[in-house]
Structure formats: C-alpha cells, structure tokens
Symmetry: C2
Subunit: 253 residues, 2 copies
C-alpha cells in the first residue's frame, strides 16, 4: 500500500487519536487511559499490546510526581475470570513488569498511577531484565525524544517456539497464580520516530524474558518488524506505509 502519511492530530485532539495516529494493531478489548492505550488478552491475563505517544512535553518530569506513591491495582473493567490480581504475582519470583513504562508518564501522578493497572503489567524476570536490560531499552527509546518530536511506542509480550530434541517446535511458558497469568518468553517494542522535518523512522526490538548481560547493547536486539508481526499476530502501524519510512532499524531503505 502507498497511503498518505496520517496527519499529526492537533494538540487539543483527544489523546487516543494522538496515541493511535498510525493505526490499531488489533481491536480486542481496547482500554484507553490518560496517556496510553491497550488491548487486553483475556486468555493470557495481560495486554496484547500497549501503545504510547512520547513528546518532549509528555515525558517531562514534574517534581511532585513520584512512582513510590503508585500501587499496582487489578483492573475492575476486566471480567473476574480473566483478571490478573496482585496475589497471582506474589511469591511467583517474577516482577510485575510495566509494558507502558512508568518512566514515560511523570507529567502527572494520575498518568503515573494508571501505568500500575495490572492490565499494563506482565510477569518479567527482575534481575538482569526488568530492572536492567529491559529498563535500558525503555530509557534508550525515551532518550530519543532529544532527536525526534514524536515517538510512538508499541509494547507487548511474545510466546515464541523453540526447537526441542525431537526436532519439532514447541511453545512453552509458565503460568502463575490462581488466575494463570502467562509468563511471556519474550517482549517486543516497535517504535516510530518523527523528526522536525516530518521524516519517519521505525525500530523494532525483541528481548528474551531472562537475565541479559549488561554488556550487550540494546541495538543488538533489533529485529525486522515483520518478525514481531508474524509472532504476535498483530500488524503494527498499518496506517503508515513502510515505503514512507526513511529508516528501519537505523538503516536507510
């Protein structure tokens, strides 16, 4: 396809129209929060995807906003059969990992608090992943706001197959708690950056949900966006023709 690039919504447009400017990856169980949008996966008790829109203003830090004032809370809008609870995570050994990063929403306490809804959370390995390399990736993307006026970030879980001894491919993942919250094997982020000249670039990352050495740069986890699309069953930025992109994963196309 060769559609025109969707226009930047006006500053006073509804936040959801800004966040979702380049299209919805899917349409199941959409929840729109103050500063992010997600699609809930009733089977895995977490999000299919979470979309954020970062600008210089949106990632700005307000002194009073403090993540220690935020508590993880269960999503009352989700049917109890499909709702993750704090008790599911307790004693599991996994962190409650943010999909929309808390650090991207320091403008007001309400936005920060909303990132702690368990629909925006998935079980992540703490040491070496959530607290380390995945956090590096979050900061890497947020820091790009020095170079771009708009950043659109889509984040979610993956359940990737592995070849076993019998030569066949198997998907295998743990589920935790009485509500069987699925522990993803991997996580992805797919980002579109727009600079002041309205030029667009895309970056896609997949990281395994396991301890990752500090020494590996985040760029090493880049993958073609199609890889994430096939694995997740989602199409990212489908209102934006890939032919309109100046770069994918840092390479001119």
């Amino acid at each position: 396809s060769n559609l025109p690039v969707p226009l930047e919504p006006e500053k006073n447009a509804p936040r959801i129209s800004q966040v979702m400017r380049f299209g919805f990856p899917s349409l199941s169980n959409i929840r729109s929060y103050g500063d992010f949008v997600l699609s809930y996966d009733t089977r895995n008790r977490s999000a299919h995807w979470v979309f954020e829109h970062l600008t210089f203003e949106s990632v700005a830090y307000t002194a009073e906003v403090d993540r220690s004032k935020s508590d993880f809370y269960d999503d009352q809008t989700v049917h109890p059969f499909f709702r993750a609870l704090n008790s599911d995570y307790k004693g599991s050994g996994f962190d409650r990992g943010h999909l929309a990063a808390a650090g991207n929403h320091k403008k007001c306490q309400q936005d920060m608090n909303e990132t702690f809804v368990l629909s925006n959370i998935a079980p992540q390995v703490g040491k070496g992943f959530n607290r380390d390399k995945w956090n590096d990736l979050e900061r890497y993307i947020r820091n790009q706001i020095k170079n771009y006026k708009n950043i659109y970030v889509c984040t979610g879980p993956l359940f990737l197959p592995q070849k076993e001894g019998d030569g066949k491919l198997y998907v295998k993942y743990q589920v935790i708690g009485t509500n069987h919250v699925a522990v993803p094997t991997h996580f992805y982020k797919v980002c579109v950056y727009e600079n002041v000249k309205n030029e667009l670039e895309l970056e896609a990352f997949v990281m395994p949900n396991q301890p990752i050495s500090d020494k590996i740069p985040v760029e090493n986890f880049r993958v073609p966006p199609e890889t994430v699309e096939r694995a997740s069953g989602l199409l990212f930025f489908d209102r934006l023709s890939r032919s309109k992109l100046k770069k994918i994963n840092g390479k001119k196309i």
Copy 2:
C-alpha cells in the same frame, strides 16, 4: 444477571442472527459463513471459536452433497502472515480437524465446502481422536436434534497448563509448518439445547487432543462451562442468564 431469554429469530432472519442468538464469545476477526460463524486467532492460525446452529432442517442430508467433493483451502481473507496453509499440515502427522463439523452441514454442497476453510480447521490427532472419540462427540450432539428443536454449538481449541516436576504450571504445545499453526492441547464444545417447550439446557465438554479409548462415554468429558470460559478467555452464551437453564450437563439446577 437475569436478562429475558433472547427470542428465536424468525425463519427468514439473516443466518448470523440465528447462529449468534445467545451472544458472541468475543469480537476479534469475525467471519460469517453460510451456516457457521467464527472468530479467527491471528496468533495461533486457527479459530478462537466457531459457532453453529443446528435444526432438524439444517442437519438434513441432501443426496447430492458429498464431503469427498470438498477440498481444504486457505482463507484468503486472512493476512498472509497469519494464514494457515495446507502445506503447514502436510507431513505434520496431524489431521486437519474440523471445528464446525462437516457432518452438520450436508444440506448443500456450498455449506459443506465452507467447513473446509482452514480457519475452521485445527491440528488434531487422527487415530483415536478426530476419527474416533471427537467424531463420537460430534455425532452425540447432532443426534440430540431428535430431542430438541434448536441446538447452538460453540467449538474451539484450548491450551491448558500442566504441572511439571518443579511444581510449576506450564502451557506447552507444538506449532507446525512454516506458519507455526498451533496444535491445541485440548478442544471444547459448549452447547445450548432448546426443546419444543422453549426449555433450555447446556452441556460443555473438554477432550484432550490425543488418542482416547472407545470405551469412555462422551458424557465423561463434561465440565462446568466456567472451566472452559476461564481457560479460553471467552464467555459463552452471555446473552442467556444461566438462571434460565433447566439443566447443565444433564443435572437440574
């Protein structure tokens, strides 16, 4: 909830309104065929659920209709990234198992043919399952049309966790072919029956995707409907209050 029972649509109402009389289990990627309706799972390359409505007329056999005239075909309405192909099944050792049973759609060749779309198919163990006990279940439900004027059947795959040696629960399933079609660990059917007195009953079944002894009666595979709902992430017959049912799994309630 205690909603009134949705009225039976008139005979000339659109088929989808008859099939889906008691509500959609979910709303992702709906496809409506001549005699069944499904929701496609782009990640697992098969259906989340398939809904059928059986009546004495709809299951009637027309002499010219012959399943040997039907061929399995890939679903061109599904994005190629997410589309199952015949080549994915080839050499996998699994049958292309119908979700909406071919045997329920012998009224016209077109209806029969449509059940062979790969979106209505999932990998099933052949001997002892697809060709045997699962087929028994399909016939068991179809034969109920002697006792009821309307039968509503929802069928789909499950991916159930098992406890491993470390005491933790894991979901594990094979994926086949270049498109990684997921092999379900189990399959479910949830049915609502309506008799001539407009009395309603529900039956729910879960069978493991493995050879099952001929000697076990299908009734042994009954489970509470909530079990299927929690496992699948779907709500079945949600426009029909459970309090309106005369029986669940053969027991008065």
